[in-house]
């Protein structure tokens, strides 16, 4: 019997997109805007490909169904090669994937956003979302921490946020040749020193694992309930479809069940 030919409709095949703008944010990070027009939730991510280099999950830092913005830190092969691209260059994207922040279910709440370093990127999507749906949410407070003043992301955007929201920024270190008017120290200290109660509030946290652990401990001391806290987890992902296994946290797939988790869904997972 002859071999049967099967045409494969692959879920791994990304779409070609064009870079519309390129903004350098800091010495090791940049933001690109691409013409990838899909509906998505804030907090979801896409898989970005450069053929021959590879593929990596990148969180979406905008909220629009007409374009997509990605903030990328140069830490690996793919991201270092992405940094070399220019406006008009092509790359490949598939997605969006994962569960984002359940913004619709959280209408009517006051919002606290706590971000550290490149963890601010997925949180930026929430702010875009709230700006487009301002009447649905109460007060918005942002605590953002960066390593040094030179590492502060989205500087132009943040100036605009300051007009509508309560924005606090801290830097971990203040090198001799830099100037910064805000507090020096970890973002966790700002949260700790702030008088906040848990009344009608939800908290969105994203940052390095150690920072998120400390923030959650502080929030628990301030009597926040587990179901008021949402974190965005980072793991290695290859497929983003719930197959490849790399992103599994204690039986949950970060790419399907996350990357945004309500803290009560993840707290038993013992950082596995």
């Amino acid at each position: 019997m002859a071999k049967k030919k099967t045409t494969i409709e692959s879920k791994f095949l990304p779409k070609k997109v064009t870079i519309l703008s390129y903004q350098r944010e800091s010495a090791d990070s940049f933001t690109i805007k691409v013409d990838f027009a899909v509906k998505h939730e804030p907090g979801q991510f896409v898989q970005v490909t450069l053929p021959g280099i590879g593929e990596a999950p990148i969180s979406i830092c905008s909220y629009s169904d007409k374009f997509m913005e990605l903030n990328i830190r140069e830490v690996g092969d793919l991201t270092k090669n992405l940094a070399k691209l220019k406006v008009g260059d092509k790359l490949f994207i598939r997605g969006p994937y994962g569960k984002g922040y359940p913004m619709k279910d959280l209408k009517g709440n006051n919002v606290i956003i706590i971000g550290g370093g490149c963890g601010v990127a997925p949180l930026r999507g929430i702010i875009d979302y709230i700006e487009q749906n301002r009447a649905d949410y109460g007060d918005v407070k942002l605590f953002l921490g960066f390593r040094t003043p030179g590492d502060i992301l989205f500087q132009e955007k943040i100036k605009g946020w300051g007009k509508n929201f309560d924005v606090r920024i801290s830097v971990d270190k203040l090198p001799a040749d830099s100037c910064f008017a805000g507090p020096v120290g970890f973002v966790t200290n700002m949260v700790k020193n702030e008088q906040i109660d848990n009344k009608n509030k939800v908290v969105f946290v994203c940052g390095p694992p150690i920072m998120m652990d400390v923030v959650i401990k502080i929030l628990k001391e301030k009597w926040f309930n587990d179901d008021q806290i949402f974190i965005s987890a980072e793991r290695l992902m290859h497929c983003a479809l719930g197959l490849c296994g790399h992103c599994m946290i204690h039986g949950k797939y970060t790419c399907l069940d996350g990357p945004v988790f309500r803290w009560d869904e993840l707290k038993e997972c013992k950082n596995d």
């Binding site: 019997m1 002859a2 071999k3 049967k4 030919k5 099967t6 045409t7 494969i8 409709e9 692959s10 879920k11 791994f12 095949l13 990304p14 070609k16 490909t49 053929p51 021959g52 280099i53 590879g54 593929e55 990596a56 830490v75 690996g76 991201t79 490949f92 694992p209 980072e234 793991r235 290695l236 290859h238 497929c239 479809l241 719930g242 197959l243 490849c244 296994g245 790399h246 599994m248 946290i249 204690h250 039986g251 013992k270 950082n271 596995d272």
Partner: protein, 326 residues
Amino acid sequence: MTNFTLSKVDLNAFIKSLSKNFDVYAPVKDHVVDGGSVRFKVVSDAKVICLSENAYYPLKELFFRKKEVLFKYSEKGLEVPVKKVKSKAILGIRRCDLHSLANQDRIYMREVPDPYYIAEREKTLLIGYHCKKAEEYCFCGSIDLQGNADIMLYELPGNKFLVEVHSDNALRLVESLKKIFKKTDIVIDAESRKIEGSNRLQKKDVHSFYDNPGWQEGIDKCLSCAACNFHCPSCYCFNIHDEANVHNMKEGERIRTWAGCQLKSFTRVAGEHIFRDTRKDRFRHRIYHQLQYFKERYGTTLCSGCGRCIRFCPTKIDFIDILNRM
């Protein structure tokens, strides 16, 4: 359904007849190529089939390929290759491997339909073989085995098989071969469906063992080689990476290959952070995925009790022993 008998002398005629429509695979003990190990291979003669030993290499390699080209890239763009596959008939699949295949089917055909897997798996005829006695490392009796073959063969006295038929297609096939399949009234009772000596795992519910000091015993001997993953008929994790054509670096393939959660790189993200950094984290994760996570999500254990992960472990870490002592 009616049962049949098949004389072992007629096995060859059965294979010849199957070969008209299928690539017929069966376990073969090959001293020349595989150093005496048993592996599912295409056969044309019943003489080479080895039913007395479980296959060393898992059946999954016929469907969930060790290397799968997801797409090709070049300056022209991306292109998914057309897959050319011949239908397979696989003879001599033990209960453990049927369970694993059912798990892989669940993942790759139903939960997240994967066209690459489905193309390989479609129209496959499964012919199971009931082994009577457990081998040294088997513990399938402790597992609630799932999965069915189209045809199931049981040993009968007098150099014969009892043939149970479980699908309409298989029944048509068996009835068309009247010369070799004889109708019979013999039925297999519940006792004969058990596999003797295979009930080694007493502690199947691992969820309270997370912080148990007992894990240390396995970890002390683990080399992080992932032989357990690659011999496992159920493990379904994979890596994706690009392979450039060395003669023209502008073109190449994006490929999917088997992955092993016991390797340190399995959870390494850019910036060199490794989420399961210690052998303890990785060993425990494997056992939890096999016995708890998969069951919580899909209702059956991922583990089939075949014991290959112990048999092919270079330091023979017997996780059954370790769990039983917890």
